[in-house]
């Protein structure tokens, strides 16, 4: 169950990072319609509204101090809150240890040095803070490179880092690595998210909680 909680947290955090993409993509990467991209073109800012909506996720993680590995599936709902400056995340899933729920908050910061995103999520007794730089290319592929501070879990010191890779307006994946007790980072699996486009159109879709 703690493990399930952990998984849920992980998913929440990861999803938070990715958010801004959709708007940027909708605005278009090609400044002049009718031509391809050029070296001189500027990459549009990421739009965190990318994440708003209902997503399904599926992924597999290995055994670790965070819990028993295995496949997890579930849903994640993201909506804008507090005059649109923040994004609230609600997670419902099922993993190797059974059902789990989680909640989180996603924030975005645009600075002269770059764009940053932070995802704070809580699942059961596990709270994770994932923060890092956000950027992309002219084609509309954006990534959030995040890292957690070290935290204690089941007697081990854990640190996570990863890349939330936004591959389409309706899909992204989160590749995570884990370091245990100061050891080298190792793969912690990937989680794939798919946006529920039909659900998004339905009036009642935002009330998953």
């Amino acid at each position: 169950m703690r493990r399930a909680t952990w998984l849920g947290c992980s998913f929440v955090i990861l999803a938070g990072v990715v958010g801004p993409l959709v708007s940027a993509q909708q605005k278009g990467q090609r400044p002049l319609p009718g031509r391809g991209t050029a070296y001189e073109d500027q990459t549009p800012k990421f739009n965190m509204d990318y994440f708003v909506g209902d997503w399904t996720f599926e992924g597999t993680v290995p055994d670790s101090p965070l819990g028993e590995g295995g496949q997890s599936t579930g849903t994640e709902s993201v909506r804008k809150v507090w005059d649109g400056r923040f994004y609230e995340i609600t997670i419902r899933g099922e993993g190797p240890q059974g059902p789990f729920t989680g909640a989180g908050i996603l924030t975005y910061l645009d600075t002269p040095a770059g764009q940053y995103a932070t995802r704070y999520e809580v699942t059961g007794r596990l709270a994770l803070l994932k923060a890092g730089i956000l950027g992309g290319d002219l084609g509309g592929n954006y990534s959030h490179f995040w890292e957690t501070p070290p935290f204690e879990q089941h007697g081990s010191t854990i640190q996570l880092k990863g890349r939330t890779y936004l591959t389409s307006p309706a899909a992204y994946r989160v590749n995570t690595e884990i370091a245990v007790n100061g050891g080298a980072y190792q793969s912690f699996g990937s989680v794939f998210y798919t946006k529920q486009l039909e659900l998004k159109k339905a009036p009642a879709s935002s009330s998953a909680r």
């Binding site: 050029a38 190797p96 730089i133 950027g135 290319d137 084609g139 490179f145 389409s168 699996g189």
Partner: protein, 494 residues
Amino acid sequence: MKLAAFGGVVVLATVAVSGVSILAQREASATPTFNQDVAPILFNSCVTCHSPGQVAPMSLRSYEAARPWARAIKAKVVAREMPPWRADPRFGVFRNAYTLTQAQIDTLVAWVDHGAPEGSGAPPLPPPVAEGGWSHPSGRPPDLVVELPFEMDIPAQGQFPWFTVVEPWPFHEDKFIEAVQVLAGNPAVVHHMTATMRKLAPGTKIGRGPAWPGGPVLSNIVVNADGTPVYTKRNQGQRGQATVPVSESAANDPPNEALNGTLVIYVPPRGFQQFRPGVGKRIPKDSVLQWNLHYTMTGKPEKDRSRVGLWFQQVPLTVETLTRSSNRGDTYITQGQEVPEKVLSDPDSACAGPCLPVIPANEPNYAATGITAFQDDVTIHLMWPHMHVRGKDMTYLVTYPDGREDVLLNVPNYNFNWQLYYEFDQPVKLPAGSTLKVIGHFDNSVKNRGNPAPEKEVYWSEQSWDEMFTGFYEVSIDKKDRPMTAPVTARTGR
């Protein structure tokens, strides 16, 4: 892992003490173990990639490494996502097929379902693996390693033009290779990387200059005799010719001129190619190594310093292969209409390969066909479908002079991140007069999970958000088969 091993001991002890039973004993003995049943499967079909330093993110070379991933292994093999083999099994027999049999899948599933026990005794020895990410199946390190002459800085965002750098080979006689590998220094940013044999164009030399107009000043750039840079169309500069093919015959083969001399192309997830005994490629002594570099942005500043490794032939060579594809100069059909020559060969385009009409926004099934005719008897050794993120499927269809047709390869679920090559178990001979049709489809809809901008029309270039339609293949021209120069075995290090 200790837990699993402990669990296994408990099970065995329980059976023995209770004496219950032959049935229980049968069940216990039927439970697959890593050492006896699983390791041979993993070592045969998985550890080529799943070894330290190789392309896969985790190792499966030991029980300790594989046990945490047991459930993931089950999920992936049951879904037939791993090993990654994308060819339609109805067509072709391939030498490098890493598929699992149903019995092997059943064994892995049973192992996981019974707690993934390690088992008694020792596992078989895993196959050798070379240090540093080299992939020769013997574990033999390359005979020659050539490193990119500088560490490349890749910015966080934007677009990085395709560009080339060259460097001379550190040998002075023709070399024949039996294997070659481009080892990406930073796979996250290497969209693709080609190692090619070329000759410097007349009036040029290796110097220092901007990699492209306005780009960073680098060493190992082809410049004119007076030191001014030579830009090419694909570098988005004025026209120029930096390098030329290594042989005159290639110069007479304009559709494939750009491919002539290709040693190996790195694309995710592979950059290693090994030829069967007696087959290989020649590196002319007076050629240079040309790196064709295409980096992609990840969102944060990155660095790369990639390497090329060469394994020289150790047996006599009789067949020299060339990398080819349907290309400009061939016939193309898109959406049922033949593509006019002026579109295919648009001199102002940045197309890599044929220039085709744009793919409309939200088009879920854009069809393209390239048709190549062979004027000589040829032998096809392997095929490599190449498209970008809208790529959906690709089929190689041969029509013989008598009208018979054969599907050489069908990849029904193409994936940009899993660009595999498909090497025939027995090379396929095509008589003169045969035609090869490469048929592909593109999905520019939102249902394509790898499509970053379905609302945009898609152009043709080397940028991964634009498209390419290239059915690569390795071919030898039968009349040129002959004993080549003696093999080279001496090592040249760098």
